[in-house]
């Protein structure tokens, strides 16, 4: 088909062809074409088959509101062809089952609609019970549209960008541009988001003249130039808004053009004020076979001609509901399309100028008439028009039927932002009854259809957005008042019209093949709330969401309901407003993990790095067998562990001690300078929340550690429990400011002595001691003598920037002594042998301090009666029936290490194994278990049921802990 090439509104370059594959065919379009326009121009009329009835479907609209044009493009399923611009070499495959688009073998389903009333599947296939599982595979194969390959990889780069501005305008039509310009004029920064690749909105393709004689498209171009020239307006074209969230967060996604570095990018905009000027779309006209290929919306036909240079058909009947439809009919007639007649559902209210032109062109015009049925087998061959009261009727042959009930606003961004939409009788629109703070609406979506009014309305919203900033100056207020006065009320809109038919094949929702009859069936069954009808008939739950049915369903329901006086209520709109690829939402998906200051050193040393919470940590340095060597080296020599992930905090101020007393179970008033105290925090249920050490560095100045996983959460929890006290304290998170090296093993002191001139002998720096040392000449170190792994060990806290140097110096000094790295797994075995617990490994959420055997940490003499968990600590101390932590060994020392199983007796579960490992030091497996009485007494036999054991139990025996060096001589020496 030849293209119109000399229209001023064209957005294509007719001279530059682009070839692409469509199915097995090689097709051609031109630059600027979408897949759908290229296909339409080359004569394609059937674009897909419907889900349930396999009816042929064609190009109905250009806004991506239904799945009619969904195709598989370069492996991506469900791509809307009318919104996807052609790229050379694209591979487009129609989504259709056996038989292809023209000869779909399942087309007979269309004759079966009597057997498939709304919700039929809830009342079928379940009897006999054996039938259902056999039916499922058929249902699954029949459902769904797009095919995705299991090994599909999304080509191209997905990006993300986070931008902010004073004002964000959604919609780059005349109103949106006017709003942006008004705000920029007053000196505010504006971000303008436009879904199409160009600005101009509904004026872009219209050649009608304004009062001053300028054609609308020319007017739009002038506005666009002003917007582009304004240094304060940043325009995002081809950017569709997917969601509007509280505090005016707008999530959108931008499609990249040939010169962009991204395929698609996620755009998140934050602004102080938001103007929504998304305009209107068309309300689908309801009549029999209203979706046969060849039926299309007025805007679709109009834009096919003016934007893409394609005449939609030879003989085109129009059945419209507003002046835009009439304008389209006239413009198409002007271009040489035969228009046998125009039906308008309105009895009056048409623009006199348009009527005069209609008479001039001798186009038969039917007021108060509507299409009642389209005819033809696969595509439209004719139409039956009827007067809306159903009395008169006439038939016309045609190859395209333009059908539209008029305009309906695109309220998605307002609805998801929390505006309550109410039905407005004047415009017949669902308009925002209230707007969330900082939000404004403008333009056609409010019912303003005249060019002047659209601009004024946009300007008013732009000024309103300016006022949100406290930019409340008299001139702005005055200007707003004037603008408002000139604007007046929007004109009356068209009323809801349903052709005088029964609706057996009148489709409310194209995606789900929901007919008016289905809606009536649902209402007969007592589902009379639009939301329930939506769920029962599936209308509006398909790929296009509420696109097609959203405009008609609520009105249809309200019209047919027993109490029609009840106001129609729209169904809920939910984000994303347009379907968005997961790849686009994912964006760059960068990993935000933390690395310790010696990450590189550990990796170079063969560290097997793993993500543990937010951190990367070394599990071991070599194969799994190497762990035994790491353990042995700490037991006999000296090892180095990177413990930088510990939470580290400074707590200081006059009330610092009060804070500590409130959250820790120990009495920290007795803590002396130079000493380290291990303690724990409990919840109000006495369950252990966190543990660590506390150091007193000076008067009113403390330093404490928390477990790695909880550092931030614990700090918040501390603030929470001090929130009503008005205490004077500061809590500083030093987690990332300090690194921690654990130097452990019988020869640890020898290493340290080489590094410092200060006396670190057992008497000068005893177990549980705290010293601030200068190590290696100039590195300030906070050193603690602790014994988590059960050997003589020093925990060295160093400023992060100096940690790598210190680590290297320690390795250097320790080399003659056989110093080696050890990782988390070795630490796990070492501490298990020593009987030390790791929260989360040996404790559950419900495990109390007493359950863990750490009750001795709790100081009863403390004078804070409001210590967190105090009543629970008292109450649970001697409570029966709790899971208690015990140490155990296997009764048969040759037995394997138990996996993680349950303790079973009398057909009941009494507890479970927490951690178990083989101990080289002891020569047999050991472990911790949480068990109830009577299993938590010394010597008890634990029958363990493991996964896959098929009833064959293995047995452990409760023994005292620590398993290793019970007296603690090694760590205290």
């Amino acid at each position: 088909m030849s293209r119109l090439t000399n229209l001023p509104t064209l957005r294509i370059r007719p001279g530059t062809p682009i070839s692409f594959r469509y199915g097995k065919k090689l097709c051609e379009g031109v630059e600027g074409d979408t897949i759908a326009t290229a296909l339409y121009a080359s004569g394609t009329r059937i674009f897909s088959r419907s889900l349930k009835y396999h009816r042929p479907r064609g190009l109905y609209g250009l806004e991506g509101e239904c799945s009619n044009t969904f195709m598989r493009v370069d492996g991506v399923p469900n791509v809307p062809a009318e919104k996807t611009f052609l790229r050379p070499g694209m591979r487009v495959v129609p989504q259709v089952g056996p038989g292809g688009l023209r000869w779909d073998v399942l087309a007979f389903m269309d004759k079966m609609s009597w057997a498939m009333p709304a919700g039929f599947y809830y009342r079928m296939f379940h009897r006999p019970a054996a039938l259902w599982p056999r039916v499922i595979p058929f249902i699954r194969r029949a459902a769904g549209k797009g095919v995705l390959d299991a090994d599909f990889e999304l080509p191209g780069r997905c990006d993300e960008i986070y931008v902010n501005s004073d004002i964000c305008v959604i919609g780059g039509g005349p109103s949106g541009m006017a709003a942006a310009l008004a705000a920029a004029e007053k000196g505010f920064r504006v971000i303008l988001l436009e879904a199409r690749p160009w600005l101009g909105g509904s004026w872009d393709h219209r050649i009608s003249l304004r009062e001053d004689g300028t054609p609308l498209f020319e007017s739009a171009a002038q506005l666009a130039r002003q917007v582009e020239e304004s240094p304060l307006v940043r325009v995002f074209r081809h950017t569709a808004v997917a969601g509007v969230y509280p505090e005016r967060v707008v999530a959108a996604f931008q499609t990249g053009g040939p010169s962009d570095s991204f395929r698609e990018r996620y755009v998140e905009v934050r602004s102080e004020s938001l103007v929504v000027a998304t305009g209107c779309t068309e309300r689908p006209l309801l009549f029999e076979h209203n979706e046969r290929p060849g039926v299309m919306q007025a805007g679709c036909a109009h834009r096919l001609a003016h934007t893409w240079g394609i005449l939609p058909g030879r003989r085109v009947v129009f059945s419209v509901g507003d002046d835009l439809g009439l304008e389209g009919a006239l413009d198409l007639a002007e271009l040489g399309v035969e228009v046998p007649c125009v039906a308008d559902v309105r009895w009056s209210g048409q623009d006199a100028g348009l009527l005069a032109r209609m008479r001039e062109k001798k186009i038969p015009f039917f007021k108060g008439w509507t299409a009642s049925r389209s005819m033809g087998r696969k595509t439209v061959k004719g139409v039956e028009l009827k007067s809306t009261n159903g009395v008169h009727g006439r038939r016309f042959p045609c190859d395209v039927l333009v059908a539209s009930a008029g305009q309906t606003p695109v309220t998605g961004p307002l609805a998801v932002a929390g505006a309550r939409l109410v039905h407005d009788d004047r415009t017949n629109f669902f308009l925002p009854g209230n707007l969330p703070p900082g939000m404004h609406a403008a333009g056609r979506m409010l019912g303003y259809m005249a060019p002047e009014a659209m601009e004024l309305s946009g300007r008013l919203a732009g000024l309103g957005a300016v006022l949100d900033f406290g930019g409340r100056t008299m001139d702005v207020v005055e200007e707003m008042r004037e603008t408002e006065a000139r604007l007046g009320r929007p004109p009356e809109g068209c009323q809801f019209v349903m052709a005088p038919v029964k609706g057996k094949k009148t489709f409310v929702c194209f995606d789900e093949d929901t007919t008016v009859r289905n809606v009536n069936q649902a209402m007969e069954m007592g589902l009379d709330v639009p939301e329930l009808i939506k769920r029962w008939t599936a209308a509006g739950t398909g790929p296009g969401q509420g696109g097609i049915p959203g405009h008609n369903l609520p009105l249809l329901v309200s019209h047919s309901r027993a109490s029609p006086d009840e106001d129609p209520r729209p169904t809920t709109t939910r984000p994303p407003l347009v379907p968005v690829l997961m790849g686009t939402y994912g964006g760059r998906n960068h990993d935000m993990c933390k690395r310790t200051p010696v990450h590189a050193l550990q990796e170079a040393a063969g560290g097997h790095m793993e993500r543990v919470g937010v951190w990367m940590r070394a599990r071991r340095f070599g194969t799994e067998d190497h762990v035994r060597k790491e353990v042995a080296n700490v037991r006999s020599n000296v090892g180095l562990l990177d413990s930088s992930t510990l939470g580290k905090f400074r707590l200081h101020g006059p009330d610092a001690l009060k804070v500590l007393q409130r959250v820790y179970v120990s009495d920290l008033s007795t803590l002396r300078e130079g000493r380290v105290r291990y303690s724990a925090m409990c919840t109000e249920d006495a369950c252990v929340l966190d543990d660590g050490v506390v150091v007193k560095r000076g008067e009113e100045d403390y330093y404490f550690t928390t477990s790695s996983a909880r550092s931030g959460a614990t700090a918040e929890w501390i603030h929470y429990h001090a929130r009503y006290e008005n205490w004077d304290y500061d809590l500083v998170n030093l987690t990332d400011a300090f690194g921690v090296i654990n130097l452990a093993g019988p020869r640890a002191r020898e290493v340290l002595e080489k590094m410092t001139r200060e006396d670190v002998s057992g008497s000068a720096f005893p177990f549980s001691g705290y010293r601030e040392l200068m190590v290696g000449g100039s590195i300030p170190v906070r050193a603690m003598r602790l014994g988590f792994v059960g050997e003589l060990s020093y925990e060295l806290h160093v400023p992060s920037s100096l940690m790598q140097s210190l680590w290297e110096m320690l390795e250097e000094a320790g080399r003659p002594l056989g110093i080696q790295n050890f990782g988390l797994e070795a630490q796990n075995i070492l501490r298990l042998e020593k009987g030390h617990v790791i929260l989360g490994s040996e404790s559950e959420q419900r495990t109390t301090l007493h359950d863990l055997g750490l009750g001795f940490l709790w100081s009863r003499k403390k004078n804070d009666g409001r210590m967190v968990g105090l009543p629970a600590l008292q109450r649970t101390e001697h409570q029966e029936g709790r899971l208690k932590l015990v140490g155990f060994k296997m009764t048969d020392p040759a037995h394997q290490v138990p996996r993680d199983g349950s303790i079973i007796a009398d057909r009941k579960i009494w507890g479970h194994v927490c951690t178990a490992r083989y101990s080289d030091a002891l020569g047999h497996p050991i472990g911790f278990a949480l068990v109830k009485e009577p299993f938590c007494v010394m010597g008890a036999r634990l029958p363990i049921y493991e996964d896959g054991c098929q009833g064959r139990l293995i047995h452990g025996q409760v023994i005292p802990t620590p398993f290793y060096d019970a007296g603690g001589e090694r760590m205290k020496k």
Partner: protein, 406 residues
């Protein structure tokens, strides 16, 4: 073929007295009503719903059912629930669309494997069909999984629970409502309970915006609003925090995902519905709120997580997201209790985001409780008193972070 389109449920005018009143037209309320009528002959029952049937969590969940819980208190309950779905389909003569596709839970660390082994051992001990699987078998079950080391958290293995699956949640609501209504239960949509009358420590009436109902039995099964009702109408403070939980679906696809897949580490789960959509959900928003809004962060998070675990899904589009309320107790286990401190007042709440899975069986036992006034053995561990005694249930091993005072 289907005859007339009979009403799914009748809506007769509200009577001045009922044998039992159920607050909440969600699954728990409806199924309790159904079992009261069908098993205990108590048919003079009113279900009072402020909005419409299935407005709350019942219509907002991702309809996954499974019985791989952690504790011996929960396991038998969920096991029975799994066995009850086919029975109910038959009994209600309504296709609940139980798709027994099996659930695969992924482990991304040694610690997660360890936790799973314990869960598997406990479940196997209770006779539940479940087993540990290695990364290779994970890939065989779900070919679109990426089991390579490219993942931030590579897959170490998982547990596969063939007995689990999904249902059509709306079908369950409608089937239960229809079944109950057929037996004489009255369903009152658009009716709000405004008060519960107590005399001498016993429930005597329930007030609604349509008038007073004399009754001696009332069940609070109002989901996200149950704690509010208990406090406003009886002054009972329940240890419940209400949080939103979001879910979303993609556009429908031909079959590609044949099991429910979930990953604790990536905070996501996904399954393909019979309609072909990939339905996915995540963890809760980390602060208490009663708004059912969605957030920009979550849908992005889901896309990041799913796109990493199952890379081909990056080529699929999300088309709808929504959220519902989760009434969370401190131990993530429900409160099922009655006659304490007010005789005739029962509650079935605090289900958080687990309420769908066991709704049928809970209804069965709550009905028994209300009919006999004796707490069934299986419900005893779920009494409210456990919080007073600091005996948390242990359904979740890890500390939960949804309210600052946990």
């Amino acid at each position: 073929m289907f005859g007339r389109y009979k009403r799914l449920w009748s809506s007769p005018p509200q009577r001045p007295a009922y044998d039992a009143v159920i607050i909440g037209g969600g699954l728990h309320g409806l199924s309790t009503a159904y079992f009261l009528a069908s098993r205990h002959g108590i048919r003079d029952v009113a279900v009072i719903e402020k909005r419409y049937m299935g407005f709350g969590g019942s219509g907002r969940n991702t309809a996954i059912v499974r019985a791989n819980q952690r504790t011996p208190e929960n396991l038998p309950l969920y096991k029975e629930a799994l066995e009850l779905w086919p029975v109910l389909t038959e009994e209600l003569d309504f296709n609940l669309m139980f798709y027994n596709c099996g659930n695969l839970n992924l482990a991304h660390s040694e610690a997660a494997l360890k936790a799973m082994r314990l869960q598997v051992a406990s479940a196997q001990f209770h006779g539940i069909d479940i087993r540990m699987v290695g990364p290779k078998e994970c890939k065989e079950l779900v070919p679109i999984l990426d089991i390579s080391n490219r993942l931030r958290y590579p897959i170490f293995g998982g547990m596969f629970h063939p007995a689990g699956g999904i249902l059509r949640h709306d079908a369950v609501v409608w089937g239960m409502a229809r079944g109950a209504s057929k037996l004489g239960v009255h369903i009152h949509q658009g009716t709000e309970v405004t008060g519960i009358g107590v005399q001498n420590g016993r429930v005597v009436h329930v007030d609604t915006d349509k008038g007073r109902i004399q009754t001696r039995r009332v069940l609070n099964a109002a989901g996200g609003y149950s704690a509010d009702i208990a406090f406003r109408m009886l002054g009972m403070k329940l240890p419940i925090s209400v949080l939103t939980i979001q879910a979303m679906v993609t556009q429908p696809l031909k079959p590609i995902l044949h099991h429910v897949v979930s990953s604790g580490m990536y905070h996501c789960y996904a399954n393909q519905t019979l309609k072909g959509e990939i339905a996915t959900g995540a963890h809760m928003d980390p602060w208490p709120t009663y708004t059912t809004g969605t957030t920009a962060r979550y849908i992005k998070h889901q896309a990041e997580a799913l796109g990493e675990l199952m890379p081909c899904l990056r080529g699929v589009k999300f088309m709808r997201s929504w959220s519902g309320l989760a009434d969370m107790t401190p131990d993530m286990a429900p409160i099922m209790d009655g006659n304490e401190p007010v005789r005739g007042y029962y509650m079935d709440c605090g289900w958080g985001y687990f309420g769908f899975k066991s709704s049928c069986v809970t209804g069965k036992y709550m009905a028994q409780y209300m009919a006999t006034e004796e707490c069934p053995q299986i419900l005893k561990p779920f009494a409210l008193k456990r919080f007073e005694e600091h005996r948390l249930m242990g359904e979740t091993a890890a500390l939960v972070e949804y309210s600052p005072d946990n």
